[in-house]
């Protein structure tokens, strides 16, 4: 018989919930069979940890006396968007310090950006706010200059427009020079390949048709708790899928929200990609309620059953040719070496499987300790969407 969310939460409250991580569940179902396992298991925890550029935080600094309506603001020299109400700011992960050398000289180091400001706040460090204003009758002050800690802020919440991509490219470089990309450093002549998915542990790989993960789902975010706020940007569901419904490339995405005050830099970490920019590594954990056999079956997906497209980042990606050099499964990618066009290519991951496992285990522990309860989605994610290129109107090339 099918379980309900209420059944599962009751079992969590009673301390009887049976919880597995998405990699543990594979062996468990193989041993006990789908039918028996579905009766017994309540929750499967999924997770991912990796750089997710489309991330940032809303901050409310509180008011000065006399009041100030910020027109522009920087935090440790990084511009925060002030084009919202008087003392609300949005600090984006990839914004660089105003004096940063960027990519001149190339490749730039990108040592300090918005992601670093967010990590400094989470680490309890004071950050330097400098704000300018034009002054109004109700907000007469012209500037603010102070040091703020996370505890000083009224609200500070992460609001990431696009996280937890359902599958992603494998990046290679067929050119004759080293290139520096958001997929890391790619050596010439396909001397290495990088990939970025937790595969069999990844949230949307375990619910490929968005049957339980939806708007309103409570999640583990950056060490604290958060929610799925919306589908992510570039959410594309009308893509090629394999027989298990797994997309063969980038597909659905999630927009996530959560209180920065409960987070930790163990699960929310600033990164600097040489030659590319700053980004924020985000730890995300999503529980899947085992309502029935069908839901459980989806969570038994293995790395060998998920494949990703191999894409050249020296020409095909930047020029959007849509060409691929074939596809490869995650078991092969995780083995450390793959074959591309007859060549052995060493692989490296951008997302950390080690951290993903740690997060899935941590979420499992919280559920078992009755510290985390499941929420039913209030609305399903859109399931009939495409990702369009920019429409170019006006002057021709």
């Amino acid at each position: 018989m099918a379980k309900t969310y209420a059944d599962i939460n009751r079992r969590i409250r009673e301390g009887n919930a049976v919880v597995f991580t998405a990699d543990e569940i594979i062996g468990y179902v193989e041993e006990h069979g789908l039918k028996n396992a579905a009766k017994k298991v309540d929750v499967v925890t999924t997770a991912t940890f990796g750089p997710m550029c489309s991330s940032g935080a809303f901050l409310n600094t509180g008011h000065t006396t006399p009041r100030l309506k910020m027109q522009s603001a920087t935090l440790n020299g990084v511009e925060a968007y002030a084009g919202i109400a008087a003392v609300d700011l949005y600090i984006g992960a990839t914004q660089m310090r105003e004096e940063d050398a960027l990519n001149n000289p190339y490749p730039g180091k990108f040592e300090y950006g918005g992601a670093h400001v967010i990590q400094d706040l989470v680490d309890g460090k004071a950050v330097h706010l400098e704000a300018k204003a034009y002054g109004t009758d109700c907000y007469p002050s012209g500037k603010a200059d102070t040091w703020l800690k996370l505890e000083d802020l009224n609200e500070a919440f992460l609001f990431n427009p696009r996280n937890a991509y359902q599958n992603y490219n494998v990046a290679v470089n067929v050119s004759d020079r080293t290139i520096y990309t958001y997929m890391g450093k790619l050596l010439p002549k396909m001397a290495n390949a990088t990939y970025s998915s937790a595969g069999q542990l990844s949230p949307l790989m375990n619910d490929p048709l968005y049957e339980t993960i939806g708007i309103g789902t409570r999640i583990f975010l950056g060490g604290g708790e958060g929610y799925i706020a919306w589908n992510g940007t570039q959410h594309a569901t009308n893509v090629k899928r394999n027989s298990r419904g797994i997309p063969e490339g980038g597909a659905a995405t999630l927009s996530l929200i959560g209180d920065l005050k409960g987070m930790s830099s163990n699960y929310l970490r600033a990164v600097s990609f040489t030659g590319y920019g700053a980004s924020l590594a985000v730890g995300v954990g999503v529980p899947i309620p085992i309502l029935d056999e069908k839901v459980l079956k989806r969570t038994t997906i293995k790395d060998s059953q998920i494949s990703a497209p191999i894409v050249d980042y020296s020409y095909d990606y930047p020029n959007g040719t849509g060409k691929t050099l074939g596809k490869i499964d995650y078991e092969s990618l995780r083995s450390g070496s793959i074959k591309v066009k007859g060549k052995d290519v060493p692989t490296g991951a951008i997302s950390s499987y080690y951290k993903a496992r740690e997060i899935a285990s941590e979420l499992k522990a919280r559920i078992k300790k009755k510290k985390f309860f499941l929420s039913e989605a209030v609305q399903k994610l859109p399931a009939n969407t495409v990702f369009k290129p920019m429409r170019q109107r006006g002057a021709s090339k």
């Binding site: 050596l187 001397a191 970490r269 040489t274 995780r334 950390s352 080690y354």
Partner: protein, 135 residues
């Protein structure tokens, strides 16, 4: 010619202006690129000495005579356990297999003995967990 060396200054030598004596007394150019000298401990200085080979050797002999230990320049790659998230992006650029992923624990291990000090991994690490140190 140019020669890169590490100079070690035992505590009793730190007070002596030996580097100045080298610059003044020998026909060499001394370019200091790293120093670490603290009171009462052995100080370290990484220098590049430029000049005729004979003159460089005379200068180094003078330093040795004054108690400075002269060593060929050494590089060392270090990986911070605190900063490393074990993603493994460094593993794919390491030609010496010094960086590897343990397929059971999925931790990234660094075997210093295999490292050839090429430095390819340093700017490949987005967490800045890998550093190259000269000594």
């Amino acid at each position: 010619m140019k020669k890169k060396v590490t100079l070690e200054f035992p505590p009793e030598v730190i007070g002596k202006p030996v580097v100045n004596d080298v610059i003044k007394g020998y026909d060499v150019v001394v370019n200091i690129f790293k120093t670490m000298i603290k009171p009462n401990t052995t100080g370290m200085m990484g220098v590049e000495i430029e000049g005729a080979e004979k003159e460089i050797n005379r200068a180094l002999k003078f330093l040795k005579k004054n108690g400075v230990r002269v060593k060929p320049l050494e590089k060392e790659i270090t990986k911070s356990e605190k900063l490393c998230t074990h993603c493994g992006v460094c593993v794919s650029v390491c030609p010496a297999f010094a960086l590897s992923v343990d397929r059971k624990t999925f931790r990234v291990n660094f075997d210093k003995k295999k490292c050839i000090l090429c430095g390819l991994c340093v700017d490949a690490c987005p967490y800045r967990a890998i550093n190259i140190e000269f000594w």
